[in-house]
């Protein structure tokens, strides 16, 4: 070990420090830049219906048994703007930037930052 340390030059140590600092900073920076993944996926009846980029603001309306559900994407966040189901829990959940909004009566699942393959494989049962 001693010989190894004696064998390294100042340039070696400097290079090592630069590489370690740059890569650790890069890891943190890239985590910071995209903490939740790039896409918003809207699934209806267990099938992914829309995959939308989160950086583009838009309104999507999705037909369901209780009428159209309006999903709004703005500033990288997503919410259910308008729903016509009995409880309207999805509407009350408000804006999310990670995780999921589930609207059981309309069979809609909105997930942020996942691939289509990561989604739950459908709904076991619908209650209420």
């Amino acid at each position: 070990m001693k010989t190894v340390i004696r064998n390294t030059t100042i340039a070696d140590k400097l290079l090592f420090l630069i590489l370690i600092t740059a890569s650790v900073a890069g890891i943190f920076f890239s985590r910071e830049a995209m903490p939740q993944g790039p896409d918003i996926v809207i699934t209806v009846d267990g099938k992914p219906l829309y995959t939308l980029p989160r950086d583009k603001d838009r309104l999507v309306s999705i037909p369901g048994p209780f009428g159209d559900t309006v999903v709004e994407i703005k500033d990288g966040k997503v919410r259910v703007k308008e729903a016509h189901c009995p409880n309207r829990l999805c509407e009350k959940q408000g804006w999310i930037s990670r995780g999921a909004i589930v609207c059981l009566p309309n069979h809609i699942v909105i997930t942020v930052g996942g691939k289509a393959g990561d989604l739950p494989r459908g709904i076991d049962a619908v209650t209420g």
Binding site: D12, V24, G26
Partner: protein
């Protein structure tokens, strides 16, 4: 090329190939993570016998290694080839221009860095083609490469020292040509 050079290249290539094969047997936590043990031989060849020998050994190792593993001309061969050539070229350039400013550890770090950069660039153009995925993974790979690069450089340094102690007078570095 003299007979002695051919003999030397053959022995070094054999070492590099066996290390290359050995490390592909080692289980790693992430499938694409490699220790780059063969780089030890490249570095020793570069410092003791010069750039030409190092590049020849690298080319023989990459091509024969992929033929033995059955990946010749496949995607993993292309990645391995580009990484090997880029890292050897970078180390050779650094050694020829900066001389003894960088020790074996520094050269190994340079090699590891350019190995990863070349592979990531090629992987981006050939396979992934998603900028954010490549940018996301790059610092992680550079960090791992730096750590393994230090270890390989340390081993190379010890090896070079031992060989020079044992038969220093028999070694002629063809650095001049």
């Amino acid at each position: 090329m003299q007979l002695q050079d051919k003999y030397r290249i053959a022995v070094l290539s054999a070492y590099a190939l066996s290390l290359h094969a050995f490390e592909s047997l080692l289980p790693t936590p992430i499938p694409w993570l490699r220790l780059g043990l063969a780089n030890i031989i490249t570095l020793v060849a570069l410092v003791l016998y010069g750039f030409r020998t190092a590049m020849t050994v690298t080319l023989i190792r990459v091509i024969l290694g992929s033929i033995f593993m059955g990946t010749f001309l496949g995607p993993s061969f292309m990645l391995s080839f580009s990484g090997g050539v880029a890292s050897t070229a970078a180390m050779g350039l650094a050694y020829l221009t900066f001389g003894n400013i960088f020790g074996p550890v520094g050269l190994s770090l340079i090699g590891a860095f350019f190995h990863n950069v070349a592979q990531l660039t090629l992987a981006y153009f050939l396979f992934i083609q998603r900028v954010e995925a490549v940018l996301f993974i790059t610092p992680v790979i550079i960090l791992i490469g730096t750590l393994t690069g230090v270890a390989n450089g340390a081993v190379s340094g010890l090896l070079i020292k031992k060989i020079l102690q044992k038969n220093g007078e028999n070694i002629q570095n063809d650095k001049a040509d």
